[in-house]
Symmetry: C2
C-alpha cells in the first residue's frame, strides 16, 4: 500500500499547539501582507530576513544600524525604514541586504513553529514553486495560517486550500483534517475569481480603510516568485542558500 503524506491546516497560531508535529514541514501563511512581502523580498534578492516579534526588538536592531521593516495594525512604526507592504521590498532596496522584519501576525507564527522539522514561507506568489518543492520532500505538511490577531481569516485559509489541492493532485498526500477539508472547499469557491471572493474578507476592509489595499491584486496573484524562504537559526534565507543542507 502506498502510504501518503498527511496535510493538516491550522487556522490560527492560538491553536498551533494542537496541530504541532515536530516531523512536519510547516508552511506559514500570512497573505495580507507578511508572507507575500517576504516572498517578494527574496524574489528581489534579499540576503537574509531577521523576523522579530516585538517592537522593542525591532528598535534595538535599528539602533545597531540594521534596515528595519516594521508595522503594527497596518501602520509603519516611526523608527522603521518602511512597513510590510510587498511593494517596499524592491530590488534596489533589498538586494544582497539583511533586513529586520516585524509584523502583527506573521512573525509570531514563524517563530512559533521554529521547533518543527522545517519552517517555510508560503504565499500566492510562490504557490506552484512551493508545492513542487514540497512534493519532493516526501514529508507531512502543516499549513499554519497566521490569521488576524489569533482569529481565523479568509485569505490565509483560501491559500491553504490552494496548496492542499496541488499536493493532493499529485496523489502523494491525503488529509483527515477537517480544516484542510474546509480550506479545500473555500478554495473551490474562491478559485474562479479570487479577488471577488476575498472582497468578503474582513481584512480587505481594514486595509481599504487605511488606504493599504493597493497590494490586494499582487498578493492574490499566483506564481510571481520562484523562491522558498526557509527559517534557519532564527533567520529567513532562500532555501538554496541555507547552511544546513
Amino acid at each position: 500500500m502506498h502510504i501518503k503524506n498527511k496535510i493538516e491546516v491550522c487556522f490560527s497560531p492560538a491553536v498551533f499547539q494542537y496541530y504541532k508535529d515536530s516531523n512536519a514541514i510547516v508552511v506559514v501563511i500570512d497573505i495580507l501582507r507578511a508572507t507575500s512581502a517576504i516572498c517578494n523580498a527574496f524574489q528581489n534578492g534579499v540576503e537574509k530576513l531577521i523576523p522579530v516579534k516585538t517592537i522593542d526588538e525591532a528598535r534595538e536592531y535599528k539602533k545597531k544600524g540594521y534596515i528595519v521593516a516594521a508595522e503594527r495594525d497596518g501602520y509603519v512604526l516611526d523608527f522603521a525604514d518602511f512597513g510590510n507592504s510587498p511593494f517596499n521590498f524592491t530590488e534596489e532596496r533589498v538586494k544582497g541586504k539583511t533586513i529586520v522584519y516585524s509584523t502583527t501576525n506573521g512573525t509570531q507564527a514563524i517563530q512559533m513553529a521554529e521547533s518543527c522539522y522545517m519552517v517555510v514561507i508560503g504565499s500566492f506568489l510562490n504557490l506552484s514553486y512551493l508545492c513542487n518543492w514540497l512534493v519532493k520532500q516526501e514529508r507531512d505538511v502543516l499549513l499554519l495560517c497566521a490569521g488576524w490577531k489569533n482569529k481565523f481569516n479568509l485569505e490565509d485559509s483560501v491559500l491553504a486550500g490552494a496548496i492542499s489541492e496541488k499536493l493532493i493532485a499529485t496523489n502523494n498526500y491525503s488529509t483527515m483534517c477537517d480544516s484542510a477539508v474546509a480550506s479545500l472547499d473555500l478554495w473551490s469557491l474562491a478559485k474562479p475569481d479570487i479577488l471577488g471572493y476575498i472582497d468578503k474578507a474582513a481584512h480587505r476592509t481594514r486595509l481599504r480603510e487605511k488606504g493599504l489595499d493597493d497590494v490586494l491584486e499582487f498578493c492574490h496573484t499566483p506564481d510571481s516568485a520562484n523562491v522558498i524562504p526557509v527559517l534557519e537559526n532564527g533567520f529567513l534565507v532562500e532555501i538554496g542558500k541555507r547552511h544546513i543542507k
Copy 2:
C-alpha cells in the same frame, strides 16, 4: 440607519478569548454529539442538566445518587449510567429528572462562555426554533463551535453557517467576521446534501470506527426539537423554566 446585530463564529474553544463578547448571546454547538443530545433531552422533558467538566466531578455526583451521562472520546465511563448518544435521552429515562452531563468537548465550551450575557445550546434539532428565538432577542450572537479537542471541525462549522444564514435572512443581522463568512460558504456547499457533505468530516470516521455513527442522520436532521436549553447558575434548563426571566 438600521443598526444590525452582529454575528461572529468561533471555531474552537481555544480561541474563544479572542471572540468573547460579554454582551452577546453565545450559542454553543457540538453536533456530534453533546448539543444534539442536550436538545433531545429537553425535548423529552428533562428538568435540569448539570454540565460538569471533569470525570472526577461526574463521579462525585454519581456517589451522591445522581443519574450521570458521561463519556470520553466516545466511550461511556464505567461508573456512568449512560453515554452521550442523543438516543440515550429517552422520555422514559429523563422526563422530570436532573441529570449530570460530561463530555469531551461540549461541556467545556458551555462552561467557558458562562460569563457572557447568555449561553444557549444549538444543534440541527432546534435550528429553526433557536433562530426564531434569537431574532426576538435583538442582540449580537456569538456561535461557539466546540470542535474536536480544540481543533476545527466541519459539522459544528456547518451548523454555524446554517444559523448565520437564517439570522441574516431576517435582515436584522450582519457579519464582518471571516469565520462567519466561511461558515456560510461551507453551509452553502453542505445544504443540498448534509449527510453526504459531513461524510468528509474526520469525526464521522472516528464515530464509525467505534460503531457510534448510528446518530449521524438524527444529529443532522433539522427541527425535531422545540426547545432552547439555557445555562442558568451553572445548570442547563429549558428557557421557559429558568428563574431569571
